[in-house]
Structures are given as structure tokens and as C-alpha cells.
């Protein structure tokens, strides 16, 4: 916190510096809401290009990194290397991580607008779409997002208690999240044991009776949303065979020559797995006890109750679909009128994430789950921006979010430099925010505090041969900080 008291300077082109008091800070004061990849990448850009700026990153949880911590599968640790870059950003003296502070609950958007020159909303999409079909409230129909939160230690999901005593699971959706949950359900327990998967989920998975996981999508193989790396992992999964319905692949091989990469390689691999599997796969599949079963052209129409377990799902009624028009990656489908029921004891719904407005002042398009914005500038709120999934919709991997966040950073940098945002009037930033939080009795968590939690998790992991044992309750995280 700098208490410079420079005199007014009227030199042409020089920024006007007011006599600053201890209740304001010099330079543009920026706040970011949401400490995931979008938040960190936009911060990285702003501190690089605005040498006077202070950036405060607010985060609802005591721990940073968003989906990198809670979304990336435990057996994909390399994807999490990006945390090192984020850590470097957080350790910049002009950046302050403020954890355990929630927009809408602890600070309002209006307050942030008053305290900061720019408010950047990057809190992502923490809800998911539902199907809106009959029977959806039966027991053991869960969102894949929460299942991921369960095995990844997202506070609030630790008591999900998925019933894994069934032998058949239906995953609805065919994106990478669907593949991730299928993989975690079908992987040998030894494969998961030495990852940072949470203890409670590892325990439950070690007792799991699940043998078959169906991956059900309403369109065809050519429209599958998962990516090739994740498909390969499933095809090679130890103790697991991949079972396809050959009928689903009618017309696919003829379509291949016209497909551009990247779709081409994925479709080739799918077709090969379904119609002409490699000898080495077939050999491994002979002795496999578990199975991965992608099913295409089926759209969930209703959930049917189990006859043995009252109030729990027993089957999914699927509408049979067919593609309309010429085969293409973006083809639509229509129902044929026919149906098929598949028995299952657990359903994981993986049809997309959804964002919500954290504050009533945020203009929101509830249909698409996106803050209403133009190129990142929030509609009707000058000085308020949005980025990442909250601005673009909940689709995209880290490279997409990074590109988007850098683009947003450039936009905000431009707005500050050309005066669209008037950053010459001093604003108090965190000096004032800290007082508001203090008065409310909110325990803000600093980056150094996170490092304590981080160290504790790693220590606990070391004892049991895991990279870390995640702390899953907010109160326990805060206890570690207080010690």
C-alpha cells in the first residue's frame, strides 16, 4: 500500500495525480471476481501492461484456481501445471488474492464499482443444465458436475453419496466431462490410488459394484463432443472393454474423406474402435470385466423408477433419433417416434454447465447462462467486464479461456489508457473493501494463507503416497489458516 503524496501535475500527457490521502491508492484499481484461469490470465495481462495498476482477485472459496483444481481429472495432473503460472501472478506485489469472499453475499457489485475503476467478472459457471423430463427427481440421478466435485474435493459436494452398488451407470452426454466420469467409474482402483482424488470418493469407488458405463448421446459419432485423447484413454483402459453398436456407424466411413481435421482423426478412431478394432485392444478386451458402452442416436425422454429400490431410478426411457439432412458435424436430430428403455441404477447427467448471476445487478441471459455483454463489456454497466465461461458460455479448454482472457485484458488496458475508464480519480480499492469485510466479520484469506493450506494438503498426501490430500470443508481450510 503506497501513500505517495505527489503534487498535481498538469504537464501535457502526464496523468493527473491528485494529492492522495491514506484512504485511496495510486494507479488504476482493478478487481477480478473469480480466481480460476480466466481471472488469473486477465490479471497476468493487466499487471504486465499497466505498471501502476493494482489487481485484487476475489474468490468465493478460501482456495484459488477454480476448475483447474476442481474440474481437471485427478489422473491428468499435467494439465494442472498452469497453476505455477497463476502462482507467479498471485505473488506479484501488485496482485492480491482475497479468498473466502463472495460477490452478492459479502460484497455487492455496487460496492465493487464504487471501490474500483474496473470490475471484471470471471466466476464461471457453477451450475448445470437439467433435462426437464419426467422422473428427474428420482434418487441416484446426479449431475456429472457434482460427481466431479465429489471426487475432486469441491466443498459442498463431499456428501453427494452416489450409490455405487448398481452394476450399470448411464452417463447422459458425450463431452469430455462425460468421459472423465466414465473413466473414474471404470478405472482400476490402483490407477486412482496415487492421484489427488479425495479420500472419501476413493473409499466409495473401492467398494463400487459398477461394471458397465453407458455414454448416451442424442446425435451420432460424427457429432461426438469428446476429444481424441480422452477417447484413446478409454479404449486402452485396463480391465475395461469398449462396446459399440455397429449400426450407429452407418454412413460414417463414407463421410470421412470430406471431414477436415480435427474431426477426422477422432471419427477415424471411433470408427476403427467400433468396426475394426486393433488386435491389441481385442486381446485386452477378452479378459475385461468392465465395459464402456457409447450409445448414439438416443435422447432421454423419461426416467423410470426401480422396482427393487423405491424412489430410485431403475431405467431411462430413450427416444430413438435420426439425423436430419446431410451428414455434417453440426447436424441436428429429430425423434423417430420409437423408444428404447435401458436399465441402470445410477444416472449422471452431463449435458452442459450453466452460469448464474451472483448479484441482482448483473444483467443475465438465463437462457444461455451468460452475462449480457458486448466483447466483454457488460451491458449497461460501464467499468464492469466479464470473461471466461461467464462471458462466452461454458465451453472451451484452457487454451480457449486463455485467449479470451488475454483479449479481454487488451480491451480493458485500452479502455484505461484511452480514458474510457477514468482512472485518474483515485479509488480506495482494497483499503476500503477490507473495512467492509471486517465490519461483517468475514475472514478474508490471503495467498500466503492459501500456501499454508496447500502445504498442509501436500503433507497429508505425503503420508499416504498421494501428491496431496485435499481438504474438502471450508471450515477446516479456515482452521488451517488460523493455526
Amino acid at each position: 500500500m503506497r501513500r505517495a503524496s505527489t503534487l498535481c501535475s498538469f504537464a501535457k500527457g502526464a496523468p493527473l495525480r491528485l494529492l492522495s490521502t491514506s484512504s485511496t491508492r495510486q494507479g488504476p484499481q482493478v478487481c477480478v471476481v473469480g480466481a480460476g484461469p480466466a481471472g488469473f490470465y486477465v490479471t497476468q495481462h493487466l499487471v504486465k501492461t499497466l505498471p501502476e495498476a493494482n489487481v485484487d482477485i476475489y474468490e468465493k472459496l478460501p482456495v484459488p484456481f477454480g476448475l483447474v483444481r476442481f474440474g481437471v481429472a485427478p489422473d491428468h495432473p499435467e494439465v494442472k501445471n498452469v497453476i505455477n503460472t497463476f502462482t507467479k501472478t498471485a505473488q506479484n506485489p501488485r496482485v492480491r488474492f482475497v479468498g473466502n469472499v463472495s460477490l452478492g453475499k459479502d460484497l455487492s457489485l455496487q460496492e465493487l464499482q464504487r471501490l474500483y475503476h474496473a470490475v471484471i467478472l470471471t466466476y464461471g459457471a457453477e451450475h448445470d443444465k437439467s433435462l426437464g423430463i419426467p422422473g428427474e427427481d428420482l434418487g441416484n440421478i446426479l449431475s456429472a458436475r457434482r460427481f466431479v466435485g465429489w471426487y475432486n474435493g469441491q466443498p459442498g459436494d463431499e456428501n453427494l453419496n452416489p450409490d455405487l452398488s448398481t452394476d450399470t451407470v448411464a452417463v447422459l452426454g458425450q463431452g469430455n466431462v462425460a468421459l472423465d466420469v466414465a473413466r473414474v467409474l471404470l478405472a482400476p482402483i490402483d490407477y486412482l490410488k496415487s492421484t489427488d482424488i479425495t479420500a472419501h470418493s476413493l473409499e466409495a469407488l473401492s467398494k463400487s459394484q459398477v461394471k458397465r458405463v453407458m455414454l448416451i448421446g442424442r446425435r451420432g459419432p460424427v457429432q461426438a463432443a469428446f476429444t481424441i485423447k480422452e477417447l484413446r484413454e478409454m479404449l486402452k483402459m485396463e480391465g475395461c472393454k469398449s462396446v459399440f453398436r455397429q449400426d450407429d456407424f452407418k454412413g460414417v466411413q463414407e463421410f470421412l474423406p470430406s471431414v477436415a481435421r480435427p474431426r477426422k482423426r477422432l471419427t477415424e478412431l471411433l470408427a476403427q474402435a467400433a468396426l475394426d478394432p486393433k488386435a491389441e485392444w481385442l486381446e485386452a478386451w477378452k479378459t475385461a470385466e468392465r465395459s464402456f458402452e457409447p450409445i448414439f442416436y438416443r435422447s432421454p425422454a423419461a426416467f423410470l423408477p426401480s422396482s427393487s429400490k423405491a424412489g430410485t431410478v431403475g431405467a431411462v426411457k430413450l427416444a430413438v433419433t435420426e439425423l436430419q439432412g446431410e451428414m455434417s458435424e453440426t447436424q441436428g436430430v429429430k425423434n423417430t417416434g420409437a423408444f428404447e428403455d435401458v436399465k441402470c441404477g445410477l444416472v449422471l447427467r452431463s449435458i452442459g454447465y450453466k452460469g448464474l448471476p451472483a448479484d441482482p445487478d448483473i444483467p443475465f441471459d438465463s437462457k444461455s447462462g451468460v452475462v449480457r455483454n458486448s466483447k466483454g463489456r457488460v451491458e449497461g454497466l460501464p467499468g464492469v467486464y466479464c470473461g471466461g465461461w461467464l462471458g462466452t458460455g461454458p465451453v472451451g479448454v484452457i487454451v480457449n479461456t486463455m485467449g479470451n482472457a488475454f483479449e479481454l485484458g487488451r480491451l480493458i488496458e485500452g479502455d484505461i489508457k484511452d480514458g474510457t475508464i477514468n482512472a485518474t480519480t483515485a479509488k480506495p480499492g482494497y483499503l476500503e473493501a477490507a473495512k467492509i469485510l471486517d465490519n461483517k466479520g468475514v475472514q478474508a484469506v490471503s495467498f500466503k494463507d492459501w500456501e499454508k493450506i496447500d502445504q498442509e494438503e501436500q503433507n497429508r498426501g505425503k503420508a499416504i503416497d498421494k501428491p496431496r490430500e485435499k481438504i474438502v470443508s471450508v471450515s477446516e481450510m479456515l482452521k488451517v489458516v488460523a493455526n
Partner: protein, 174 residues
């Protein structure tokens, strides 16, 4: 210091020492520019901060940014193209730190040097499928290690900017 040593040393050795002294200074200056704290040293990419030990080691490469601006860089045998870019503050990210888990170091390999590179592994090809603005000459920068054959290598950074906020946005694979 050079003068004191000069009395007892041959010309070649003096030059060797001069080269290394300035190299150390250059490294220190660069290190200070980059690190906000001493502890955040590059765990990887340290090799790329070392100067070439002789002209025989030098491999000149040219990075072309998305606007066409050229950055001629003196690399050396064994340098990782991505970490070399980082050393010289060229706008190439490396989110997963060269562990084949992202596409942020995506480059286009211009001209004939493309054929001199070892073929991409299945892992790299799988990732390239996800790279925005993919082209025939696309490769991941972190998989390119410099050798003498690659002297004059020109790589271009893809357009990072794209309009992400399109209305009627179609879902992409994820």
C-alpha cells in the same frame, strides 16, 4: 579483472572469459527482470538462459508474431523453442510447461524446415486437433528442440485474437 589476467593468458582464453563474464551479467539482468521473488526460478527452461558456448553451438531462429513482426533470436543446440521464446519475452505461452497437456505453444513452422523436424507423436497430434487456427504446418513449440539443421528456422505465432463473444455461438468440443 580482464587486464590482470591478460598478463598470463593467451588471447583465446581471454576471449573465453570475456564471453562468460558478459554472459553471466546478461543472465543476471534477465533473471532480475523476470523473477518477482528469488524462489520463483524457472524449474524448466533454465538451459535456454545459458549463452551458446561457441559459434558452433549457435542456431539462429526467427519468431514471427501474429502481426508479422520478426524477432531474430540466437538460440543454441538443444534449446527448447518454447523456453527460448520465454527467455526473450516473445508472446508464446506454455501453460502446461511442456508436458503435452495444452496447445498454448502452438506455432506454424514456415518453409522447408518443417520437413526437418521429427514427426509429431500421437500425443502431440491429438493435442494439435484442439489448437485454434490449425494449419498444415502447425506444431507445438515445446516439442521442437534446436539442432544445426534448423539454422534459420522461422516460426509464426497464430492469431491469438478471435471474437469469442459471437452471438449464436456454436458449442465446440471440450
Amino acid at each position: 579483472m580482464i587486464r590482470r589476467l591478460a598478463s598470463g593468458l593467451s588471447f583465446a582464453r581471454i576471449n573465453y572469459i570475456k564471453m562468460h563474464c558478459s554472459a553471466d551479467i546478461l543472465q543476471a539482468r534477465t533473471t532480475l527482470k523476470h523473477n518477482f521473488s528469488i524462489s520463483s526460478v524457472h524449474r524448466n527452461g533454465e538451459y535456454e538462459y545459458q549463452e551458446p558456448k561457441s559459434e558452433d553451438e549457435v542456431v539462429n531462429v526467427i519468431y514471427v508474431d501474429k502481426n508479422g513482426k520478426e524477432f531474430p533470436i540466437r538460440g543454441k543446440i538443444g534449446d527448447n523453442l518454447m523456453y527460448l521464446a520465454h527467455r526473450h519475452e516473445i508472446e508464446m505461452e506454455g501453460a502446461c510447461e511442456a508436458s503435452l497437456a495444452c496447445t498454448t505453444c502452438h506455432v506454424y513452422v514456415l518453409g522447408e524446415h518443417k520437413d526437418l523436424l521429427p514427426e509429431a507423436t500421437e500425443k502431440e497430434e491429438d493435442l494439435l486437433d484442439l489448437a485454434p487456427f490449425l494449419r498444415e504446418d502447425s506444431r507445438l513449440g515445446c516439442q521442437i528442440i534446436l539442432n544445426k539443421e534448423l539454422e534459420g528456422l522461422r516460426v509464426q505465432l497464430p492469431a491469438a485474437t478471435r471474437n469469442f463473444y459471437i452471438d449464436g455461438h456454436k458449442p465446440k468440443p471440450h
